[in-house]
Symmetry: none
Subunit: 412 residues, 2 copies
């Protein structure tokens, strides 16, 4: 079966914005064994969208339309799809009540125009959206499916996971797909590729994909076979060859990120961590505390952006600051020790560096970051030189700081 | 005149790759006064591409097709476009010689299949490509234009700049595009729409688009007129009606985000800010310090995740914590005051709340957040009830915290 994805929204036809939902949806569809054969972006234009939906439905069995389900005049998807299918729209009191209840829970008044979102195309099944006001819709058309999803990525993914994926699977021929999803820290993308290419290039099934974000690399393996046993055997065969090559750089086999693993390890051991951040300005703590339940392991942090604050709050000595400068190994060391003592935590992470564009010295140019880790009986500091702009340097620094904590926990 | 962009290539239908050429082309077309009304991505599939080109040419005056001009079997653009137009293809010895000469200059042997690139659609004008082997093609069709461009961005831009832009300009009525890009904080998307719809629905030119992220809303206005003066007058006319409705919720007219505006305001006044974050765990500080040069205004922060740390680090009293709980107005107040005093800053932002999924009380359920702001001579605390999961609650809280600082700075 083939799918097409139509993204709706005039903002997606500007020079600034791309439809990125389709990447995630393509991954999901591919995982189900469905090929995406065409993608489209259409503005908030009823007639154009209606024509495009009608044409797509002639070509493909699955037509997914994202966006345009909001409450405003601009949101034309419901109307356009109804027109394309030659169907009417019905106001559904139950959907309207659900939207009103959502506003009530947030102690906000529902705006009059939100009632637009309660219109359902004749014969459609509503797809509940517990993260937003716009319900999705599933319209079965002669063994084909037209699926309307909300545009905001968080809502789209939720509706898909809770109500679309299973239903789509039931429509599809029984090819079994099994996937592995690994995450790797502590190396670059090309190094990783060189390391594992000799393994994965031997196989066309499973398909291997490497995806890189700053300092965090994902490896996807996808096997498609007639039976689950066959797919799983194939995956183990390939995984068994890759795993020894990766060693402890492979940190996740369950999709969870570095912060989730670190918090889980700490909670398991009933240990705690705190931070002292300068260059990253809260980014390490923000990642740690993004994890539900992190309050059991994360105690607190000091964000020390000036020399004076490093001195008064963390107890970094005048002499060390004067002799070595704030971006230095001894300061990273003193920041970690100072934070650990003051919070009484088992571990402290410190970060000091030049994120740019200002700052930097000959010895420590922009991009230089010192990451410290203090434990009860030892402390280490690592020096890094990261490429890219301020945002990239900070992202890399936070990633390597979390990885340093992970490695320390593995050893302890 | 309207344009459509078709990107050709099966790799653009994978979960890893987006067509980014269309962003650059959209900017170029907009600058010429041409609106992009539809974008498409098609795989290396002759029949599909041919249908898509024929359909696009019925809808739009300018059809740009990028990619698929290479020398391999997969490269179907020439054939597909010829079929869509009902025209033939001719081998052109002069084009073949030019390709051969290019190989000779690089001291490489031309492969047999490169001769495919010397086929020209009947009636087409070749568009020389001095950066690659694939020439582009311009086909005039009853006052419309079908333009074939090579896929590699460097080649595409070069061919466009040297041979397409001027020729397109000659086709066009003299239209100019001018845009406004505003950002609004402190209200929801539907409330904003209700507020300004009475203005923007009166105009089909300029076109108004509203885009919402958590707590941050963008308004785009785009006017297309015969002259720049006319477009600017039209924009002022509409902007002049919207601006009083938005009041101080309109915080940005230059595209910059809330953190950039806040840091700029502080730097201008030579004032400083610090934070005391609990529920947001560093998110407010991370946003402030993401701004280049923020070290001139951001002093530091305390991340106080436990009651004990709120007590020892920030000086929140036992009695207040015991009587009101950590998520309360008095604690937010004490956190802001405590941080401001300790850092000696002009302003302190505090955040305490239940981001979920754990925690919450009957009075203060998950999603409740208290945001405090302390200045030298006054302090206020606001209570919010945010919807969504942990990530959304934290994002909303950080956004409203920064907005509270912005409003305070405006008043002071």
């Amino acid at each position: 079966m083939n799918a097409e994805i139509l993204a709706v929204g005039s903002e997606l036809l500007t020079p600034q914005k791309l439809d990125t939902n389709s990447l995630w949806l393509t991954q999901e569809l591919n995982d189900l064994g469905v090929e995406v054969v065409q993608k489209m972006v259409i503005g908030d234009d009823r007639a154009r969208l209606s024509d495009a939906v009608a044409a797509a439905l002639k070509r493909s069995e699955i037509v997914i339309i994202t966006g345009g389900l909001g409450p405003t005049e601009d949101d034309v998807t419901r109307d356009a799809v109804a027109a394309a299918l030659g169907r009417g729209l019905q106001f559904r009191q139950d959907l309207c009540d659900a939207i009103a209840a959502r506003f009530a829970r947030m102690k906000r008044k529902m705006a009059e125009n939100n009632t637009r979102q309660a219109f359902l195309i004749d014969g459609a099944d509503p797809l509940d959206n517990d993260r937003g006001t716009a319900p999705g819709q599933w319209i079965a058309v002669d063994g084909r499916a037209v699926i309307l999803l909300p545009g905001p990525p968080g809502e789209l993914k939720r509706v898909w996971e809770q109500q679309v994926r299973e239903r789509l699977l039931a429509m599809l021929p029984k090819l079994v797909i099994r996937t592995l999803f690994w995450r790797v820290a502590g190396m670059g993308e090309s190094d990783l590729d060189q390391l594992i290419a000799p393994v994965y290039t031997k196989y066309s099934n499973p398909v291997t994909t490497i995806l890189a974000a700053a300092g965090d690399i994902q490896i996807h393996l996808r096997a498609r076979c007639a039976t689950a046993a066959e797919a799983e055997a194939l995956l183990s065969e390939v995984a068994g060859q890759m795993e020894p090559l990766l060693g402890d750089r492979l940190y996740s086999k369950d999709g969870r990120g570095l912060e989730e693993h670190v918090i889980a390890m700490l909670r398991e051991r009933k240990q705690t961590v705190c931070v002292a951040e300068s260059a990253t300005g809260g980014l390490v703590a923000q990642r740690l505390t993004s994890v539900p339940g992190s309050s059991h392991a994360f105690v607190g942090g000091f964000l020390t952006y000036t020399d004076e604050v490093k001195r008064t709050v963390l107890g970094v000595s005048d002499a060390v600051l004067a002799n070595y400068g704030a971006v230095s190994e001894p300061v990273a060391h003193a920041m970690a020790e100072g934070a650990r003592e003051r919070f009484g935590a088992d571990y402290a992470i410190s970060v000091t560096g030049f994120a740019g564009p200002e700052g930097g010295t000959e010895e420590n140019p922009v991009g230089t970051v010192y990451v410290g880790l203090a434990a009860r009986d030892a402390a280490i500091v690592k020096r890094f030189q990261f490429p890219g702009d301020r945002a990239r340097v900070r992202t890399f620094a936070a990633q390597w700081a979390l990885d340093l904590l992970r490695r320390t926990l593995l050893e302890d």
